[in-house]
Amino acid sequence: MIAKIVCYALQGLEGVPVEVETDAAKGIPGYEMVGLPDAAVKESKERVRSAIKNSGLLFPLGKITVNFAPADIKKEGAAFDLAVAVSLLKASEQLVGARTDDTVFLGELALDGSVRPIAGLLPILISAKGHGYTRFVVPAGNAKEAAYLGGADIFPVRSLAETVAFLTGREDISPVPAQNFVPRLHAAQGADLKYVKGQPVARRALEIAVAGGHNLLLVGPPGTGKTMLARCLPTVMPDLSFSEALEITKIHSVAGTLGEEGIVSDRPFRTPHHTATTVAMCGGGNRIVRPGEISLAHGGVLFLDELPEYKRSTLEALRQPLEDGKITVSRAGGTFTFPARFMLCASMNPCPCGNYGAADKVCTCSPAEIRRYRRKISGPLLDRIDLQVEVDNVPYEALTSDEKQESSAEVRERVNVARSIQNVRFEGSGMRTNAEMGERELSAYCRLSAEGEKILKEAFERMKLSARARSRILKVSRTIADLAASEEIAPAHVYEAVSYRLGDSLE
């Protein structure tokens, strides 16, 4: 008898249906797998055999052929185990009358028959639901993640025996109740702007950056709190919406970095070390193409501490995703696109010794050294960082003062107001923030008065700005105007935006 069971394979962030066909025929005992399975899938042969035996079931004798269709996709990982086992049992007529046709089976088997959780479950469920499947059997360990799908019957199973009992009607499993999404409160993480002493300029820049989704560069002497400021970024960002959370969860699920909770409920804050390779940053891999740090930071913050220490090629690879909000990784096995709409926050010292420009310390670097240090960051990359601010060396009295600083919650309120203005502006266009505006939107929403135009022209000539830097200044001006709830971009807004182009005035 031939049995067909539906399972799913992952291609990038998308699930692709795979039919597991098993034929158990009379003949010389044998057990064959065809249809482009990779090593981990082929090994499922042995896992499935042991799991069936140890679950008190019968492993069929005779000639067994397992086929994965379509045959042209490379199947990877152990997520097919459960489907193979179920189809084997069905082919050997141990599941008579069970409802398996419209059910998707996902899960890895242990030798004792228990079902282990798999990576990338949520993206598979979302794709499968899109394909019309509404009945799933999933590992109990993935139940929390699966609960966020909603609108489908999802049955969590702990073991193969339980699965069989459920399918044959001997045992009842209640489907996972649909879970409502609640964004997590950021205060729990410990970072909060109220713990940042002083830094009025950097605080303001941070607020603008978050309000308009702009990239941020913090320049300052070592030990002045650049990292602490950066850690506060997610705390002032607006709460995740469910669709955003799903999008982020899909990426983290595929990468296997999803936590206990089953969904990413707060904005990611990724801090790859400066030894990170281009592949680690952008995604890739030998056979299994995994999302890189920039995709894991999707919807959140990518923080690059000590920017000049990163490999040049790695930094340059960021340029295109910074513009497009996604990264396309091409490998022999296929081309995969991962979303990568992150906010870039970088930090650096003003010079190798760190004291350049400090009021009370002497910089020991020669101009050539300073230039060499800054040259490590290319102009095109710097162009894409809209806000470049200096971080102050806070005096001792300010550090120990009890003066109350504004908390993240207060700042977030203003950010939310500015974001809601943007939401109205970009309604239906797929954009969320000012930073994402293209040329067309710029001319529509960033009209300058004659005076504002004059200022921009002067800045353009004096600071030898590129056309891109010019449009970035316009976007920041727009955000500043939004924060001031002003329809018009006033000259003062342009001036302020220009004052955050520190990098251009440095060189």
Partner: protein, 360 residues
């Protein structure tokens, strides 16, 4: 010996860098004060002797032919020579005791005849001094050709201020074809195009410690006065000031904060009697000149108030300025950014701003 012949020999000497001081002084003397028959014979003997060395070295070429070939080579690179024998060799420079026998130049030759004023500053200097230097250089071009070096920092600020008008002379511490500093290679081309480059050294000579010192004497020698933007305790710019004093030129210096390491030299100069200079007006008045009328910067009410506060404070953090003005930091940032663009304020690092120039 006619002037042309003397000129060629001088080029030869400069190119070979073989002239001993005695010979050079003799020639300078002869060229400056007319040719005395006896003197001339002596000089010619010396020249022939020196040239003979070259003949041995170069095979068959005579000193004059070698000089011609050298000039042709220079010309191919867009350079020409101005020697003590030329009429337009700058008089002020001719008058110093160790005037170079030939100046290799590229660019506008007519600048040699202008009134000249020198501005120098150390390579590392506070940004306000940089901005002030730039503003002064820009304004001085109305009356002077501005003379400076080609290093980063102070020299660069002067170049930035004066280059657009073309009234700029840069004296190199190295041979005409050597790019020093390497980062200013394209800047050097721009100066040769719009202003004037001068070097006393032969082709291919790299900048060396002594050549900076020697170059500084030309800076001072060319000019009627020298302004020092910033100088540490042992800064090389002090050599320029020292030469200027020795040659009887006026010395000016920007005043710095007490204890600022980058300004110790300037303050010491003022102590010793140098003119205290805060803007171009001080220089014009010292030479008895009328300051050219300038278009007053258009300031909004807020900007004017911020400027007044900034001038009172001298140098201050943006947040402190905002507190004094009673406005939020970002409004202060906008106002300061506007003042910076109008050349009235400069970033001093760490979100600090400094006033540039003095109030009227």
């Amino acid at each position: 010996m006619n002037a042309r012949r003397a000129g060629r020999l001088l080029v030869y000497l400069a190119a070979c860098a073989q002239a001993d001081e005695r010979t050079r002084l003799d020639i300078a003397h002869a060229c400056s004060y007319g040719l005395d028959e006896k003197e001339l014979q002596k000089i010619c003997a010396a020249l022939i002797q020196t040239a003979a060395k070259g003949v041995y070295k170069n095979g068959t070429l005579s000193a004059e032919e070698a000089a011609e070939a050298y000039l042709a080579r220079l010309e191919g690179m867009g350079w020409y020579a101005v020697t003590l024998a030329d009429d337009d060799y700058p008089e002020a420079l001719r008058a110093i005791p160790d005037a170079p026998c030939a100046l290799f130049c590229a660019g506008r030759r007519e600048l040699l005849a202008r009134r000249k004023f020198c501005i120098v500053g150390s390579r590392l200097l506070p940004s306000w001094a940089q901005a002030t230097g730039k503003a002064i250089a820009e304004e001085l071009t109305a009356r002077f050709a501005v003379v400076t070096g080609i290093a980063e920092g102070g020299d660069r600020a002067v170049i930035d201020g004066a280059l657009s008008s073309g009234e700029l002379i840069c004296v190199l511490p190295c041979g005409p074809d050597v790019d020093y500093p390497a980062a200013h290679a394209s800047l050097k081309k721009a100066i040769a195009k719009r202003g004037l480059l001068i070097s006393e050294y032969p082709l291919g000579m790299r900048a060396q410690k002594f050549s900076f010192h020697a170059r500084n004497r030309i800076l001072a020698g060319l000019s009627e006065g020298v302004l020092v933007l910033a100088a540490g305790e042992k800064s090389g710019t002090l050599i320029t000031a020292d030469r200027a004093l020795a040659y009887g030129r006026e010395v000016f210096a920007l005043p710095h904060n007490a204890g600022a390491a980058q300004g110790v030299g300037c303050n010491a100069l003022i102590q010793q009697g140098a003119f205290l200079c805060t803007d171009a007006g001080d220089i014009f008045s010292a030479f008895g000149m009328q300051r050219p009328a300038r278009a007053a910067a258009q300031l909004t009410e807020g900007e004017a108030r911020m400027l007044a506060i900034l001038r009172e404070a001298g140098e201050e953090h943006a947040a402190a300025l905002a507190a004094k003005a009673g406005i939020p930091v970002w409004e202060a940032q906008a106002a300061l950014s506007s003042l910076e663009m109008k050349g009235l304020a400069a970033r001093a690092g760490g979100n600090r701003f400094a006033a540039v120039g003095s109030s009227e």
